[in-house]
């Protein structure tokens, strides 16, 4: 092909399919669940995460691929696979992943839980008399009133089984009529009740700290009560996943969207795309479900254990097992911002780099809160993507508007999970007098930027916060992110221009420091990568370190391959999807990829470019994904103050030195943990925790007036002023 010779680095063989790469990521999380060195309850959490991740993956990605197949869309992906081929490959992989999930659960976690005093009654048939009595009463009092059993016969059609809901399917027959037809009946396990039922200590397993049973077991145990006029022949849990998401995943190409719109009529709305059933389900029962939902065999998952493992997250929260969890980490105060400091004064002195969750997110909340009350503040502008339910930031913004400040908020309603939630507080902000922009047509606003305009004695000064993570005080305790507080005039001007653009005004004539997607960011990255390649060719030192969540943009990967071929040393820290392959002779020999999966979700995006000896460090809300670079509003900002640059480089260095939580990509595309023999054991996340604690303590000690055991008398006010 002509294309090949023209673009040698675009050979599909050099790329990994993004869905398969994603599954590898889920597998790495599963690896954590299987890691015996990790506290038991943390492992539960990881397993639960693999399950909820997989659910979302099906609803968004697999659904999307199915759409493509239905629409007859044949375009090949980055790795040269058609949608059909991708689905096929995914099918094998997901089945394997699920098998691994349950083998982890059954063989590893269950016995360990039992040994550590948490007994799970896995089969209702094994209840003791006393337990049965207790649960029967629980069933009558709590469960029965909310159940809606439904039977199917000639007069009653097959009921709608709700997406992601857990159900118990049964085969029933009219009582006393041995020859009557077998009918299908189903009941949804109510999501309003807790999935885990803890039994009272006295009737629990002897010696166990806690004995629990899952709700569906209790319902199954009492299934006769639901169909009084029938004999229940068998009952088994099942769960389906539907392609019910009307919006098509933003990652897909625009031409696909058009194609699908055209085909919309052909699309089977709410089509089931996955069925999970209890392993050993009655064949007749399965056949009915399968036929009704028009599922093919490869979409069926036979589950040797409880369906929907996300309940493990609830189990993690059970009291009494603290010894089996990692002690809760408290985000540390930021040394540049002592408790009684005026945040604006401090920023004026010095830019401040924040590293969450090692350092507290409080300064960011405080930044908005203080601005809301400060009489000198004229305006506050902010982009909000996903905000916590009871966000102090929202409250502060509302207060600011009430205080007569001009408050502009861009609320991204297209954030996938919590649109309804967003609308509620967006309305609230509007009521308070804020100017609310409900997103931009055709673009998702993913950038995280806050601008505070303050009128000071010597004129307008703009304070800006730029971040890699959302303005969400809850997730800021779990996600690793970085943020910059600054009042540099150049960035302030750019920030004003950003909000002018978000308000629908024209682009600025030029940018000082920031680069914005979708218009400029990709070119900027390509330029920065290309510059390293040029430097390498010119015999200069050339080095790229980039940390992000996902890497799947073809143009960027191509540029990286070219840079690698030119001799640039490239170290990538990519948590999730990575379509780039390492170790291809002549293409990517100089590239390494590592993924860190730890207790905190790696989320910061940091980009380092050697630039022939005068390094540049950037941070961004954007990954190297087409959706970030082409269909979202994202911001890239430089970290220029020397000490902060050092700090950012330190973050990258520690992550590159991690020997405990890092998985390194191999030439065959697989990921392997590092062989620890003879190496210093380093866990990057733990290191950052320790460093943050130490730094906070040092700052505290410095401020402690009693530290020298000598009191210092205050000098007279007048003398001080004279000085």
């Amino acid at each position: 092909m002509g294309e090949k010779s023209e673009k040698p680095f675009r050979n599909p063989a050099y790329y990994t399919n993004r869905e398969l790469s994603w599954l590898q990521f889920d597998n790495r999380i599963l690896g954590e669940a299987r890691d015996k060195s990790i506290p038991l309850f943390e492992r539960l959490k990881f397993l639960s995460i693999t399950a909820s991740n997989l659910d979302e993956f099906f609803m968004v990605r697999v659904a999307s691929l199915k759409d493509m197949v239905h629409a007859g869309y044949e375009k090949k992906d980055i790795a040269g696979m058609t949608p059909q081929q991708q689905l096929k490959a995914l099918n094998t992989e997901t089945h394997e992943l699920v098998n691994m999930q349950y083998s982890t659960y059954n063989r590893s976690l269950l016995p360990q839980l039992s040994a550590n005093g948490l007994h799970i009654i896995t089969q209702h048939e094994k209840l003791t008399k006393k337990q049965e009595e207790y649960l029967n009463r629980y069933f009558e009092d709590e469960v029965y009133p909310v159940l809606t059993p439904m039977a199917v016969d000639s007069s009653r059609p097959f009921p709608l089984i709700r997406n992601k809901s857990l159900n118990i399917g049964a085969l029933v027959r009219k009582k006393g009529e041995e020859k009557a037809e077998i009918e299908f009946a189903t009941v949804q396990v109510p999501s309003v009740l807790p999935r885990i039922i803890q039994l009272p200590q006295e009737i629990g397993e002897k010696g166990a700290t806690a004995t629990v049973i899952l709700l569906e077991e209790v319902i199954e145990h009492n299934i006769d009560q639901l169909f009084l006029n029938y004999d229940v022949i068998c009952a088994h849990p099942f769960r389906i996943m539907r392609n019910a998401d009307l919006s098509i995943d933003e990652d897909e190409a625009a031409d696909l969207l058009k194609e699908i719109e055209k085909q919309l009529k052909k699309r089977q709305w709410g089509e089931a795309i996955r069925l999970e059933v209890e392993d050993g389900i009655d064949k007749r029962l399965l056949k009915i479900i399968k036929n009704e939902l028009k599922l093919s065999e490869e979409d069926i998952y036979y589950i040797p254990g409880p369906l929907d493992l996300t309940f493990l997250m609830k189990m993690y929260g059970m009291d009494g097992f603290d010894a089996l969890k990692v002690p809760k980490y408290t985000p540390q105060p930021v040394k540049e911002l002592p408790a009684d400091a005026d945040i604006f004064e401090e920023i004026k002195k010095h830019d401040i780099l924040l590293h969450h969750p090692y350092q507290t997110f409080e300064p960011v909340v405080d930044f908005v809160r203080k601005a809301a009350r400060d009489p000198q503040v004229l305006a506050i502008k902010q982009t909000l993507y996903r905000v916590s339910g009871n966000s102090p930031i929202i409250k502060a913004l509302a207060q600011a508007a009430e205080n007569g400040k001009q408050v502009s908020v861009l609320v991204e309603l297209k954030a996938r999970f919590d649109e309804e939630n967003n609308i509620v507080w967006a309305k609230m902000l509007e009521k308070a007098g804020c100017h609310v922009i409900y997103g931009l047509v055709g673009l998702k606003t993913h950038s995280k930027i806050t601008l505070v305009v303050r009128r000071e004695e010597d004129g307008i000064r703009r304070y800006v916060h730029l971040g890699t993570g959302n303005y969400n005080d809850a997730t800021a305790k779990l996600y690793t992110d970085t943020g910059l507080l600054t009042c540099q005039e150049a960035i302030g001007e750019d920030a004003t221009a950003v909000f002018n653009m978000l308000s629908g005004y024209s682009e600025p004539k030029s940018w000082n420091k920031l680069a914005l997607a979708p218009l400029w960011l990709k070119d900027k990255f390509l330029y920065l990568i290309g510059r390293e390649a040029e430097n390498a060719k010119a015999g200069e030192k050339a080095h790229i370190v980039a940390k992000m969540n996902s890497l799947c943009d073809r143009d960027i990967i191509e540029a990286l391959y070219k840079a690698s071929a030119a001799g640039v040393k490239i170290e990538l820290i990519v948590r999730g999807i990575c379509c780039l392959k390492v170790g291809i002779p002549g293409v990517s020999e100089n590239i390494t990829v590592r993924s860190i999966v730890g207790n905190f979700l790696e989320h910061a995006r940091i980009y380092y470019f050697e630039n022939a000896g005068s390094p540049e460090v950037y941070m961004s809300s954007a990954d190297w994904m087409p959706r970030n670079l082409e269909r979202r509003v994202e911001i890239l900002f430089p970290v220029e103050q020397e000490d902060l640059k050092e700090k950012a480089i330190h973050i990258l260095r520690v992550q590159l030195a991690d020997t405990l939580k890092a998985h390194v990509m191999q030439a065959d595309g697989s990921y392997e943990k590092i062989d620890k023999r003879g190496k210093k054991l380093i866990c990057a996340q733990d290191t950052f925790c320790e460093e943050a604690i130490r730094e906070a303590e040092e700052a505290k000690a410095k401020d402690d007036p009693a530290k020298d055991r000598v009191f210092i008398p205050e000098k007279s006010q007048i003398i001080q002023e004279d000085e």
Binding site: L378, G459, S506, K509
Partner: protein, 518 residues
């Protein structure tokens, strides 16, 4: 607080822009926000003569938002100026009233010369770069939606300024209506432009050497200012400009837009500007092109800051206006000596009468201009000098003067020669409001008197002193001359009559004979 916040709103043909500035004597002008909204008012005006309702609604909505932004910044003052799109609209007054009612904003429509003068001030506000570049022969090419203004500098001052109606939006409408292939555009633009440039060159530039060209526009300037595209930081050589025109030819819009970092709908307008500049450069044989990247808003704030004495200007703009006027006078073969004499007398009288007339610096300038042009009509006819002078002045762009001011000057010159009409009789002929009418009357009175004192055209009143004796209601004009001033003394009566009528002060001539000097 010494700090002032000022908002400048420019209702342009293709864009609605507002800039917010902070002004302080110490730090000068500091731009703190630049908000622009694309709105094509020009196409409506240039094709139909009216602006559509949709556009007006949009305009009002955005202006309301601007007002809100102004409130946020707590601005102390604002100016809102509209340019050719509104100027040439038939329903201009209705639109302005509508805007006022809906947004509370007062929009003033700038005359072409006022607008260009502001652009010029904006360039001058760039200080050093400007002073340096105009040391050599320089032309400013100010490209607007409706027309292009070309101004010429020599030796640090403005020589002439001419307006050609080849604005980019107007050109676009013209070219698109011709239905030709895109590949022919360049040729077409060149033909239209060349035609006008030739005339300009022959009539006004003559054999001046023009090394530098300063361009002010909304399309080429951003490109030249963009460091990613143009390395010169706003400067471009003749060759680069010609090369750029070549690059634009034959490429598709999307490609150009991406390469130059502009939006696609500006590509054609950019192309237009570049071809125009290329022709100007070639025609004038210039070597260097400079785009200071200023907009009308920059000129507005400069004007405001200067007017309120918040900054001290580096460039003397009044000198530019007068230099320009002197050139007009020269063009119509006015006698420099004579007009200088009249000017001298007029200004002396004006200054001595301050207490009575209460007029300011600006009116003094108008009088000075009128004195410089007081007999330019002679070029056409010896008998109806007044009417001819009036026509010449009204047809000649005087940069820095508003239309009304030009009208005032023309009238002063005209009624210097003929009887002044009373407002209730046919004052409406003057086409101005009462206040301006009265100013014209006062200034005319002074000019008439001054002209009378120089009746013999022999500059006998070179050294005149004017002293106001309020109690006697006399203005004593003492002349230090040995020459015979019988003619002047005799002829002064009718001239002084009008002066007396206006001021109720009687001019009296006293001659001091200084024989020693003779």
């Amino acid at each position: 607080m010494a700090l002032k916040t000022f908002a400048a709103i420019d209702v342009g043909s293709f864009e609605l822009a507002m800039k917010i500035f902070e002004i302080s004597p110490r730090a000068g002008l500091r731009e703190i926000d630049d908000i622009r909204h694309r709105i094509d008012l020009g196409t409506d005006t240039y094709t139909t003569g009216k602006i559509s309702n949709e556009r007006i609604n949009e305009l009002c909505e955005v202006l309301k938002e601007f007002k809100e932004i102004m409130r946020t910044y707590k601005v102390n003052a604002y100016r809102a100026y509209a340019t050719s799109a509104l100027r040439e609209t038939e329903n201009r007054l209705i639109i302005l009233d509508m805007i006022k009612n809906r947004t509370g904003l007062d929009i003033e429509v700038l005359s072409n010369s006022e607008q260009r003068f502001l652009d010029y001030k904006a360039i001058a506000s760039k200080g050093e770069g400007f002073q340096k570049i105009i040391e050599k022969g320089t032309a400013i090419v100010d490209i607007g939606g409706g027309s292009v203004q070309i101004s010429l500098f020599d030796n640090d001052s403005l020589i002439t300024t001419q307006n050609i109606r080849l604005g980019v939006l107007r050109m676009r409408e013209r070219i698109l209506s011709m239905q030709v292939k895109p590949s022919q555009y360049e040729k077409l633009i060149e033909e239209i432009v060349d035609n006008q440039l030739e005339i300009l060159k022959k009539m006004y530039f003559k054999d001046r050497v023009i090394d530098n060209i300063i361009v002010v526009d909304d399309y080429l300037s951003p490109v030249m200012q963009n460091p990613a595209v143009c390395a010169g930081g706003g400067y471009m050589t003749r060759e680069d400009c010609i090369a750029l025109a070549g690059q634009l030819q034959g490429k598709n819009k999307a490609e150009i837009a991406k390469k130059l970092g502009i939006s696609e709908d500006k590509v054609f307008l950019l192309f237009n500007s570049v071809v125009l500049m290329k022709r100007v450069i070639e025609c004038m044989n210039a070597k260097l092109l400079w785009a200071p990247g200023v907009t009308l808003c920059d000129g507005m704030v400069y004007e405001y800051a200067e007017g309120n004495k918040l900054i001290s200007p580096e460039h003397d703009f009044e000198k530019d206006i007068l230099a320009c006027v002197a050139n007009i006078s020269k063009r119509y073969m006015g006698s420099k000596k004579r007009s200088e004499s009249v000017e001298n007398i007029a200004l002396t009288i004006f200054d001595s009468m301050k207490k009575i007339h209460g007029l300011g610096k600006r009116e003094r300038l108008l009088l000075q201009i009128a004195a410089k042009l007081y007999d330019c009509g002679k070029y056409i006819s010896m008998t109806s000098v007044g009417e001819c002078s009036y026509s010449i002045i009204m047809a000649t762009e005087i940069i820095g003067l508003s239309h009304l001011e030009r009208e005032m000057v023309a009238n002063i010159v005209k009624y210097n020669r003929i009887d002044f009409p009373y407002y209730h009789e046919n004052g409406e002929q003057l086409g101005m409001d009462l206040a301006s009418y009265l100013k014209v009357a006062k200034l005319t009175a002074i000019l008439k008197l001054s002209n009378g004192l120089d009746r013999s055209h022999k500059q006998k009143f070179k050294t005149i002193k004017a002293t106001l004796h309020e109690q006697e209601q006399e203005l004593v004009l003492s002349v230090d001359t040995a020459a015979d001033i019988t003619l002047e003394k005799g002829l002064i009566k009718p001239k002084a009559q009008f002066f007396e009528e206006v001021y109720s002060i009687r001019p009296v001539i006293r001659q001091k004979r200084n024989y020693r000097k003779q």
